[in-house]
Amino acid sequence: MAMKKRRYALVIDSRKCINCKACVVACKAENGVAVGNFRDWINEDRQGEYPKLRMDFEPEQCHHCESPSCVRVCPTGASWQRKDGIVLVNYDECIGCRYCMIACPYDARYFVEETGVVDKCTLCSHRVDRGDVPACVETCPSKVRIFGDLEDPASRIHELLATRRYRVKEPQTGNGPQLYYLL
């Protein structure tokens, strides 16, 4: 049976985000991320003064870019991209040169001192491969995060991106980021 082509992505409805950081905690618990490091985080943007005040919360993590510059610069091939778009680090091949961290326009990677290698969001590939959604998606109480396969016309994210307006962050980086923020 021929394998179906997949392209995983996240749609983020950031207007619903209440900055509870449940996703950040869920990620840390699921992936055993050490204190001080984060695979996902919430950007806060405050404008104006009370009572004319606007506060925006915007979850961010690795964008699992279409043409990931982190993968391009890696001298050993430790940073690599799966056919379904997920960008991963092969921890056995990583020499810890941190070139990928410098080359990521979204600062989505971190260095783990203890092991001397670089790490990042895996889009919970271990969960995705058994048919679950990433931990951050499962946890989010206000349903900000929608995970799915862009190649599947029946998926919810396919429908959202076809019918709603959205943006991606800094498209001028040329990386083709795959976190879609609904407007």
Partner: protein
């Protein structure tokens, strides 16, 4: 979120790699120049050849020390990734270092070579087979090495310039800037070494040659830095913001006063002051020892600062902070 991933070790590595490239280039060039069928600058050629391999060898060792997983550095050689400047650079640097060592060997005085091999146990036959006189091939080795030395000089810039995520680096000028800075550092280091070598005092025609060479490289470097600044300020917002780091931001003082001033224009002025009378008015060239010492040290200081500013300011630049660089 964003912190510095590359620090001083990388700065030193880029500087030393460029320095070796410059030393090799100047030494190789000196080897080719002749007056009346006689080599014009044999002592410069020898000094440069003997010095060239060491900085890059030390620099590469420092780079390995900087890895998160030092013992895995061999993996750099078990992969070849043509899209990664670091991968290409690893091979380039290795080949260059080998050539530089072979070239240095070809310049070893007969007695040095004999005493060197005298330390090797007589039973190590394989090693003793290397005890051959290859001085006749100096020109060939230099010719093979030239493109690699230029390549290494360019590579130290491309390593940064190829990173599209950092607007401070991502222009096609950084490679040339680093190359000319490397060549200038090499010429200056060579002059410094010759001046400091009291056993065989430097002669004025040698000083004149190296000063002339350095002036040419500094001027070329200036012709790259100016367009870099002009182009950047006329560019898109991300590049403009990145350039703010040296045009009002935290690296302004070190860029303008210490690099541009002390590291580039002052030594250029000293060298022009030395050379101009003999060049324009036909007066004899003096070659003041102290002025040469001052100019060359400043050039090396400037070359180091250029790498420092680029490595640090470049990492601070990003598309991320649109509108809120602080």
């Amino acid at each position: 979120m964003h912190e510095l991933n590359w620090g001083l070790l990388i700065v030193v590595y880029l500087f030393l790699g460029g320095l070796s490239a410059g030393l090799f280039f100047a030494a190789g060039l000196a080897n080719y120049l002749e007056v009346d069928g006689q080599p014009a600058y044999p002592r410069i050629a020898r000094m440069g050849a003997l010095l060239a391999p060491w900085p890059v060898a030390i620099g590469s060792a420092l780079l390995i020390l900087d890895l998160g997983n030092m013992l895995r550095f061999y993996k750099l050689f078990t992969h070849f990734r043509w899209e990664s400047p670091m991968s290409i650079g690893t091979y380039l640097l290795t080949v260059f270092t080998l050539i530089a060592f072979v070239y240095a060997f070809s310049w070893l005085p007969e007695d040095w070579r004999r005493s060197l091999f005298g330390k090797v146990p007589a039973t190590w036959k394989l090693v003793h087979r290397l005890n051959v006189d290859i001085s006749a091939h100096r020109k060939t080795i230099a010719m093979v090495g030239f493109p690699f030395s230029i390549g290494v000089g360019i590579y130290t810039g491309v390593l940064l310039g190829a990173v599209s995520a950092r607007p401070f680096w991502n222009t096609n000028l950084v490679a040339q800037m680093f190359l000319f800075s490397a060549l200038s550092s090499g010429a200056a280091a060579l002059l410094l070494a010759m001046v400091l070598n009291k056993r065989e005092p430097i002669e004025t025609h040698e000083t004149k040659f190296l000063i002339t060479l350095d002036i040419v490289f500094i001027v070329l470097e200036l012709f790259i830095i100016l367009p870099y600044l002009i182009h950047g300020t006329l560019s898109v917002l991300a590049v403009k913001q990145a350039l703010w780091l040296i045009l009002g931001g935290p690296y302004t003082l070190v860029f303008w006063v210490f690099f541009m001033g002390l590291g580039l224009l002052v030594p250029l002025a000293i060298e022009v002051y030395e050379l101009a009378p003999s060049l324009l008015k036909g007066k004899p060239f003096h070659g003041d020892r102290n002025l040469a010492l001052a100019a060359t040290s400043l050039v090396l200081f400037g070359g180091f600062l250029l790498r420092y500013i680029f490595v640090y300011a470049g990492q601070a630049s990003s598309f991320h902070k649109m509108g809120l660089l602080h």
